[in-house]
C-alpha cells in the first residue's frame, strides 16, 4: 500500500506545482504592456470609433481587467469572487476569448481532446518503435543492423518535421491514398462521435503521428541502445550467462529491466516537447489541435485563451512526470525501499 500512499503524495505535489505554474503563466502573459482590450480601445479611439469603446470598457470591468494584477490572477484561478462571483479555473469556467468573441471552453472544446489524442498516439509510436529497435541495435551492436538503424534514426532526427510532413503528405496521397491535412474529413466536423468519424480520425492520424514521433523515436532509440550497451558490460549479465540462460531470455530479463528506468523516466519529458514541438506541424498539417490556437492567442494577447492553453500543456507535462515517477517506483525496488535498508 506504500505505492498508493506515494501516488497520493505525488498527486498532491503535482497540484501544488500546478498552482505555482499558474502564477508564472499569468505573470508572463501579462508582462507585455497593456492587454487585449486596452489595445483595442486605443485602436478604436485612434480610428474614431467611439461606439466600440463603450463595449470594450464594459468588457474590461466585466472581466475585472481594471483591477490590480494579483486580484485578476486570483479571480482567474477562482480563489476570490470576480464580477460574476466565483468563476475561475477551479470552478470550471475557463474565461472568455476576446479574439474569437466566444467562451474559451467552446473554442478549445474538441481540439483539446484531439491534442491529447495526437500526442498520445505519437508517444505510443515513439515507444513502440524505439523499444524493439533500440534493443536490437544494442544486441547486434557494431553490425549492419546497428549501423542501419542508427542511420535511419539520425535521418529522422535531422529532417525538419514540417518538411517530413509535406513529403509524407505528397507520397502518402499519391501511393496510399492517404488524406491530406486535418484530423478528420470535413463532413464530420462538429458532429457527435460515430464509428465512421472515429475511422476517419484514425486514418488522418497516421501521417501526423509519424511526423511528430520520428525524431522522438530516433532519440529514444539511441538512448536505449546506449543504456543497454552500458548494462551489457556489467557483471550480473555475466552471472546470467554463466547460469546457462539463452541470450534473448537473459537480455529481456536482466539488462533490459535496468535500461528501462531512463526509458520510463522520459515519458515526462516527451509529452511537453511533443505538444510544443507539434505546434508548427499542426499549422502545416492543418490539425485541429490547440497548437495553432495557442499561437494566435499569444500573438493577440488574448490572455484567458493563452492562459488556459498553457495551463493545459503544463497539466499534461505534470501528469507525464507523475506517471513516470509512479512507474519507476513500481519498476525499481531500490527506489521503493529507500530507507528500508538497515
Amino acid at each position: 500500500m506504500a505505492i498508493l500512499r506515494y501516488a497520493v503524495y505525488r498527486f498532491g505535489t503535482m497540484l501544488l506545482t500546478l498552482l505555482v505554474v499558474s502564477a508564472l503563466v499569468f505573470t508572463i502573459i501579462n508582462l507585455p504592456p497593456g492587454d487585449y482590450l486596452s489595445n483595442q480601445i486605443s485602436e478604436l479611439r485612434a480610428s474614431g470609433q467611439s461606439a466600440g469603446v463603450a463595449k470594450a470598457e464594459f468588457l474590461r470591468t466585466e472581466y475585472a481587467l481594471d483591477r490590480p494584477l494579483y486580484q485578476q490572477y486570483l479571480i482567474w484561478i477562482g480563489f476570490i469572487p470576480g464580477p460574476q462571483g466565483f468563476s475561475g479555473l477551479i470552478q470550471g469556467d475557463f474565461g472568455w476569448s476576446f479574439e474569437f468573441d466566444r467562451p474559451v471552453a467552446e473554442i478549445v472544446g474538441e481540439s483539446l481532446w484531439l491534442t491529447v489524442l495526437v500526442n498520445l498516439a505519437a508517444v505510443l509510436f515513439v515507444y513502440l518503435i524505439a523499444l524493439p529497435l533500440g534493443v536490437l541495435a544494442a544486441a547486434k551492436s557494431k553490425t549492419w543492423v546497428d549501423y542501419t538503424s542508427a542511420f535511419v534514426g539520425y535521418l529522422g532526427l535531422a529532417t525538419p518535421n514540417f518538411l517530413l510532413a509535406l513529403i509524407l503528405f505528397y507520397y502518402g496521397h499519391k501511393y496510399f491514398d492517404l488524406p491530406i491535412g486535418g484530423l478528420m474529413d470535413p463532413q464530420y466536423e462538429g458532429l457527435p462521435m460515430t464509428w465512421d468519424k472515429v475511422k476517419s480520425i484514425l486514418i488522418h492520424l497516421i501521417v501526423p503521428t509519424f511526423v511528430i514521433g520520428t525524431s522522438g523515436a530516433a532519440a529514444m532509440m539511441q538512448r536505449l541502445r546506449a543504456n543497454l550497451l552500458d548494462e551489457l558490460g556489467k557483471p550480473y549479465v555475466e552471472t546470467a550467462i554463466a547460469k546457462g540462460m539463452s541470450p534473448p531470455r537473459m537480455l529481456t530479463k536482466y539488462p533490459l529491466r535496468m535500461a528501462f528506468n531512463p526509458f520510463v523516466a522520459d515519458i515526462g519529458n516527451l509529452l511537453p516537447s511533443m505538444v510544443s514541438g507539434s505546434v508548427l506541424v499542426s499549422v502545416v498539417l492543418g490539425l485541429q489541435t490547440i497548437g495553432p490556437t495557442l499561437l494566435t492567442a499569444l500573438k493577440t494577447q488574448d490572455q484567458f485563451l493563452a492562459g488556459f492553453v498553457l495551463m493545459f500543456v503544463a497539466l499534461l507535462t505534470l501528469m507525464g512526470t507523475m506517471i513516470s515517477d509512479v512507474l519507476l517506483v513500481l519498476l525499481d525496488p531500490r527506489i521503493r525501499y529507500e530507507g528500508r535498508e538497515a
Binding site: 557483471p235 547460469k243 540462460m245 529491466r257 525499481d332 525501499y337 530507507g339
Partner: protein, 590 residues
C-alpha cells in the same frame, strides 16, 4: 584415475592480437581443488572463463581442447554448439565471481535469481525450486532463509551476497565450481568464513573446484593442486604442499616474497614515545542520524566513531585496522578536518616540533589553508583518484597552483623532482593517467600528495586495489619516503598483514570503538581482544601448516554479544580502554 576436467594446450587471444593465454594445460581431479594463481594480466581469469566459453566478444579460443568428464559423460567443451554449452553452464559447471555487489541483478529478488538455475536446467516447478533453494540457503548460512528468498541484493551485506552467489552456483549440484577471486572484495574475517563454507560444501557434495586467486594464503588454505601463471603462460604447476613449501620457479618465489604476512612468531615491542605528537585525536565521536522509515518513527542514531583517542608521534606510522563499517575511514576524515566530530571531541595538529598545536576544527580560513598544505591524503583507488582528462603534470602542479606557490617553471621543476622521487621518469609528465598501470598511478597519487611537502599523510587503503608484488613496491616506497622526508602516516587498512609491515602502532576498530591498541609485534605476540584474535586468525598465510582457525574467527567476528563476558559491550554500557602493559591497551571490563 580420469580427471574431471582436462585442459590441454589452451591458447586464447583477442582480435588479431597476440595470445593472452598460451599453451596452458592442467587437469582437475574429481573432488579436488585446483588454484590458478597469478597477478592481474596473467591470463588466469581469461583461462577460467574460457572453460565455460564466457569470454568477451573479441576473444577467441585459438588452440587447445577442454574436456569435461562429468555426469553426462565425456564432453569436448571447445567443440560443442552454443546451445549445448548453455546446458553445461550453471548445471554441471557453475561459476561464482569476484564482486558479489555487482554480480547479482539489483532489480530481482535473490530467491528469483537463484531459483532460476533450477527452472532453466531442471524444469522444476516454482514450488519445488523454492523448497530446494531454501534448503541451500540454510546450508550456506542464512539465518532466515525465507526472508533472504524475498530480499533484494542491496538489502544484504557483501558476505551475505557472496553466500547467495554460492547458493546459486551450488543449487544444481555441479560437478565443477569455478570461483573467480570469490573473496577478494570481502573483509578478512568474512573471507575466512566464506572460504570455510566453500570447503565444507565441497566435502558435502564431492564437487571439484577451480579457484582463481592472486593470494597465496588463500591457495594454501584451499587447494590441492596449484598452477602459477604469468603473462599467459604456466610458470609452475603441481601439488600444493611441495610447491608452497619449496617453490621452484623464480616467479613463484617472487610472489612469495611479495606476499605480506603476519609473522609466525613475534616478540613484544617497546611502546611508542608519547612526546612530540604531530596529531592527537581526543575523545572523537561521530554520530550520524538516519531518518526513520516512516515519518512517525524516530531517527536512528549511527555511532560511526565512539570516543576515539589516538596519538601519532612525529615520524611514525599509526594504523587503524577494521572491517568495512568499523569507523576507520570516518576517524581519518575527522582527523583531516573533512568532517567535524561530535561536540566534546578535539583534533590537535602540530605542524612542527616547536610550533603550537592547532585545533583542526576551530580554524579560520587562512589557518585551514595552511593546514591543508601540511596534511595530505593518498586514496584507495588509483584508477578513479586521478582525473582522466588532466595530464600528469597538471594533476601534480594543481595543488601548487591552488596555494599559489612558485612560478610556472618552478612548479614544473618540482613536479619533475617528485615524480623521480616515486621512481618514475620526468618525461611521463605529459601523459594522461590511462597510460599507466595501477601501481604507477598509485605512485603518481603519492607524488601528488607530496607536492606540497606535507608533514602528515593520511593513506586510505593505498594498496588494496593493487597486485601483491605491486603492493610490496608501494609499501617500500611509502616507507622510504617516510624516513627520508620525516613524514608521519595515518594508515587506514583492513589488512593486518600489510599493517604488520609498515605500522609502528595499530589501533583495531570495531563498531566505532577502538578495541585494542598496541605496536604490531605486541599485538601479534599477545592479542587479547577476541576481535583482534579473529582478525589475526582470519589472515590467510601462504603456509600449508597454518590453516585459518575458523573457530577463532567465528568467535571474534560475530556480534559483541557472543564475546566472552569481559569484552561485551552494548549501546549503553561500554567498557573502557584498559592498559594491560605499557603501550598495549584493550577494551575490556576489569
Amino acid at each position: 584415475m580420469t580427471p574431471l576436467l582436462s585442459v590441454q594446450d589452451l591458447s586464447i587471444g583477442f582480435g588479431k592480437g597476440p595470445d593472452v593465454v598460451r599453451n596452458v594445460s592442467f587437469d582437475v581431479m574429481p573432488g579436488q581443488s585446483l588454484a590458478l594463481v597469478g597477478e592481474s594480466g596473467s591470463g588466469k581469469t581469461v583461462t577460467c572463463r574460457g572453460i565455460l566459453r564466457i569470454l568477451p566478444r573479441a576473444a577467441q579460443i585459438r588452440t587447445g581442447r577442454i574436456t569435461l568428464y562429468g555426469r553426462n559423460g565425456e564432453i569436448d567443451l571447445t567443440a560443442i554448439s552454443e546451445r549445448r554449452m548453455r546446458d553445461v553452464r550453471g548445471d554441471t559447471v557453475s561459476m561464482i565471481f569476484q564482486e558479489p555487489m555487482r554480480s547479482l541483478s539489483p532489480l530481482h529478488k535473490i530467491g528469483n535469481q537463484v531459483s532460476e538455475v533450477l527452472w532453466l536446467h531442471r524444469r522444476t516447478s516454482k514450488r519445488e525450486a523454492k523448497r530446494l533453494v531454501l534448503e541451500k540457503f540454510e546450508r550456506v548460512g542464512f539465518p532466515d532463509p525465507e526472508r533472504a528468498y524475498g530480499s533484494y541484493p542491496f538489502e544484504m551485506s557483501g558476505g551475505m551476497r557472496q553466500r547467495a552467489m554460492i547458493a546459486m552456483a551450488m543449487v544444481s549440484k555441479p560437478d565443477l565450481l569455478i570461483a573467480d577471486e570469490p573473496t577478494t572484495a570481502l573483509d578478512v574475517t568474512t573471507q575466512a568464513q566464506v572460504l570455510g563454507l566453500m570447503k565444507e560444501l565441497q566435502k558435502d557434495t564431492g564437487m571439484a573446484m577451480v579457484l582463481v586467486t592472486h593470494d597465496l594464503g588463500v591457495v594454501a588454505n584451499m587447494a590441492e593442486q596449484v598452477v602459477v601463471m604469468n603473462k599467459g603462460r604456466v610458470m609452475e604447476a603441481g601439488p600444493a604442499a611441495p610447491l608452497l613449501n619449496a617453490p621452484a620457479h623464480a616467479y613463484t618465489r617472487q610472489l612469495f616474497d611479495a606476499a605480506p604476512s603476519i609473522p609466525a612468531e613475534a616478540r613484544p615491542a617497546p611502546p611508542l614515545p608519547e612526546t612530540d605528537l604531530i596529531l592527537k585525536l581526543d575523545n572523537v565521536s561521530k554520530t550520524y542520524r538516519m531518518r526513520g522509515k516512516t515519518a512517525w518513527q524516530p531517527e536512528a542514531l549511527i555511532h560511526a566513531c565512539r570516543g576515539v583517542d589516538l596519538n601519532l608521534p612525529r615520524g611514525k606510522t599509526l594504523a587503524i585496522v577494521g572491517e568495512s563499517g568499523s569507523g576507520k575511514t570516518t576517524a581519518a576524515r575527522i582527523a583531516l578536518g573533512a568532517e567535524p566530530p561530535d561536540p566534546g571531541g578535539k583534533v590537535l595538529f602540530r605542524p612542527a616540533s616547536d610550533s603550537d598545536p592547532i585545533a583542526v576544527h576551530q580554524m579560520d580560513r587562512a589557518a585551514r589553508t595552511a593546514f591543508q598544505k601540511q596534511a595530505q591524503m593518498v586514496f584507495q583507488d588509483p584508477y578513479s583518484s586521478l582525473s582522466p582528462r588532466m595530464r600528469i603534470l597538471g594533476a601534480l602542479t594543481e595543488p601548487l597552483d591552488i596555494h599559489g606557490i612558485g612560478t610556472r617553471a618552478e612548479r614544473r621543476e618540482m613536479a619533475a623532482e617528485r615524480i623521480q622521487q616515486v621512481g618514475m621518469n620526468p618525461d611521463m609528465l605529459q601523459r594522461y593517467p590511462h597510460a599507466f598501470s595501477g601501481g604507477q598511478r598509485q605512485r603518481l597519487s603519492i607524488a601528488r600528495a607530496l607536492m606540497l611537502e606535507p608533514a602528515l599523510l593520511v593513506c586510505d587503503e593505498p594498496t588494496s586495489a593493487l597486485d601483491v608484488s605491486v603492493q610490496e613496491q608501494i609499501l617500500c616506497l611509502l616507507e622510504d619516503i617516510r624516513d627520508r622526508m620525516n613524514l608521519s602516516y595515518l594508515f587506514i587498512s583492513h589488512d593486518l598483514a600489510v599493517v604488520a609491515r609498515i605500522a609502528d602502532e595499530v589501533a583495531v576498530m570495531r563498531r566505532g570503538l577502538v578495541v585494542e591498541q598496541a605496536p604490531p609485534d605486541t599485538l601479534f605476540y599477545n592479542p587479547h581482544h577476541p576481535y583482534t584474535k579473529a582478525l589475526i586468525a582470519a589472515q590467510p598465510t601462504p603456509d600449508i601448516n597454518r590453516p585459518i582457525n575458523l573457530k577463532l574467527v567465528a568467535q571474534g567476528a560475530g556480534s559483541p554479544d557472543s564475546w566472552p563476558e569481559a569484552f561485551r559491550f552494548s549501546d549503553t554500557m561500554i567498557p573502557s580502554l584498559t592498559q594491560l602493559e605499557p603501550g598495549h591497551k584493550v577494551r575490556c571490563h576489569v
